[in-house]
């Protein structure tokens, strides 16, 4: 930028001295208008062509401001997806992790919804029996920094609209979900965990025989 100022001003002086052309005057006006925002120092400094005096250059400072908007999603093919099956889970219990990778350039939130509020089988249970088996859902979020976020809620508290897990029930939004306050770009280590201890049939209610299922929907949102 700096080398342009002297030739422009010399051109303007030359044009004025020679009576000037309309086109040259217009160009000078445009150049002047463009040069005004460049700073008061430029307006007070005369820059000479080499051999006509000094200085021969002026320093211009231009502040360039920019930002990148919040980008937030799961890394490609790294969303928390998959399936898990445990035979006779009432006897064995279970623990299973579903890893995922965040790709968020700023803070984000992760939320979960359980379709059944537990592992459920068809039918109606008589008194003392149950067709719904409880289990816990945990979230562990990692970031580009040492900041992590952890929370656990029972699946029964993750039913859309009615669950009581205020921490991460529902669809993720800027204000809903477990929040990680730092960017997390392609960091491995985040996971969703489902877990249940062996079911205490002595305490009950007794789980009836059958096939049980639940679906968890995990959503992610930027949380500026």
């Amino acid at each position: 930028m700096r080398p342009l100022v002297a030739p422009i001003r010399r051109f303007c002086r030359i044009s004025s001295g020679r009576g000037g052309l309309v086109a040259g005057a217009l160009l000078c006006l445009l150049c002047a208008a463009a040069a005004v925002p460049l700073g008061s120092a430029a307006a007070q400094t005369t820059v000479y062509a080499p051999g006509d005096g000094t200085p021969n250059q002026a320093n211009l400072s231009i502040d360039v401001l920019a930002s990148v908007g919040g980008r937030c999603g799961f890394a490609e093919n790294q969303a928390p997806e998959g399936s898990f099956d445990q035979r006779n889970f009432d006897v064995t219990g279970f623990t299973e992790d579903f890893p995922f990778v965040l790709n968020c350039t700023g803070p984000s939130r992760v939320a979960v919804v359980s379709s059944n509020g537990g592992l459920k089988t068809a039918g109606t249970a008589p008194a003392g029996y149950s067709v719904l088996a409880p289990y816990d859902v945990s979230l562990h979020l990692v970031s580009n920094t040492s900041e992590v976020a952890d929370a656990t809620c029972p699946a029964s508290a993750l039913v859309a609209g009615t669950g009581s897990c205020a921490t991460f029930r529902g669809a993720a939004s800027a204000t809903q979900g477990l929040r990680i306050g730092a960017a997390s770009t392609n960091q491995t280590g985040s996971y969703l965990r489902v877990a249940a201890n062996p079911y205490d049939q002595a305490v009950g209610p007794t789980l009836v025989a059958g096939e049980y299922a639940d679906t968890l929907t995990v959503t992610l949102s930027a949380s500026p």
């Binding site: 342009l4 920019a66 399936s83 898990f84 099956d85 025989a209 096939e211 959503t219 992610l220």
Partner: protein, 197 residues
């Protein structure tokens, strides 16, 4: 001029992008499945000496003052005196139906029997199940060999404090007036509860 314009063009979009991007939402789906197998679970086993549940009953002295077997009523009372700790249990099954077998084995002693004497006491054992919808029972007499046949009850076991109870009656010797031989008498009642689809 060109450079100045270039700067202006470069700055303009940068200023536009300073507006925060709208929050995006993406999702993943996790499916969890599992099974609960068909089984029965003993949750109150009584005081078993073997097996999964059970208890012990000591009838005491079997013979009456004349050497014959005490009355069945006396022995029934003695049996019940063993109490709930030995004679009642709690079992739950995950299946909608319940299978039960009862096999009563007579009380015997090792002494050699001769005419007019007895080394065996027969009796009838009954197992009462508390089922959803009401109680049902199944009996077996020790005189029957082999033991009682399996029966399926089309109801779940109720989940009250206890839901299986054992009683015994009709104590008797092979001959009505048999004199009891001296000795220690042992017998047992075998109960099997199984899940049924």
């Amino acid at each position: 001029m060109n450079k100045i314009l270039l700067i202006a063009l470069a700055t303009a979009p940068a200023l536009v992008m300073t507006t925060p991007a709208a929050a995006q939402s993406v999702s993943g789906v996790v499916d969890i499945t599992g099974s609960v197998g068909e089984k029965c679970i003993v949750t109150d086993d009584g005081t078993p000496t073997s097996g999964d549940f059970g208890g012990s009953v000591n009838l005491g002295q079997l013979d009456d003052v004349d050497g014959t077997l005490k009355s069945s009523g006396d022995l029934e009372a003695a049996f019940l005196a063993a109490g709930t700790a030995n004679l009642t249990y709690r079992i739950v099954c995950t299946t909608p139906n319940t299978k039960l077998t009862v096999n009563a084995n007579e009380l015997t002693t090792g002494a050699t029997v001769s005419a007019g004497y007895a080394n065996t006491v027969h009796y009838n054992a009954s197992v009462q199940l508390a089922l959803v919808g009401g109680n049902q029972s199944l009996s077996n007499d020790s005189l029957l060999v082999p033991g009682g046949a399996e029966q399926t009850f089309t109801a779940r076991l109720a989940t009250g404090p206890t839901n299986v109870a054992v009683t015994a009656n009709n104590f008797r010797t092979p001959g009505a007036d048999d004199v009891m031989l001296a000795g220690t008498y042992n017998g047992n009642i075998l109960i099997t509860i199984a899940p049924a689809s």
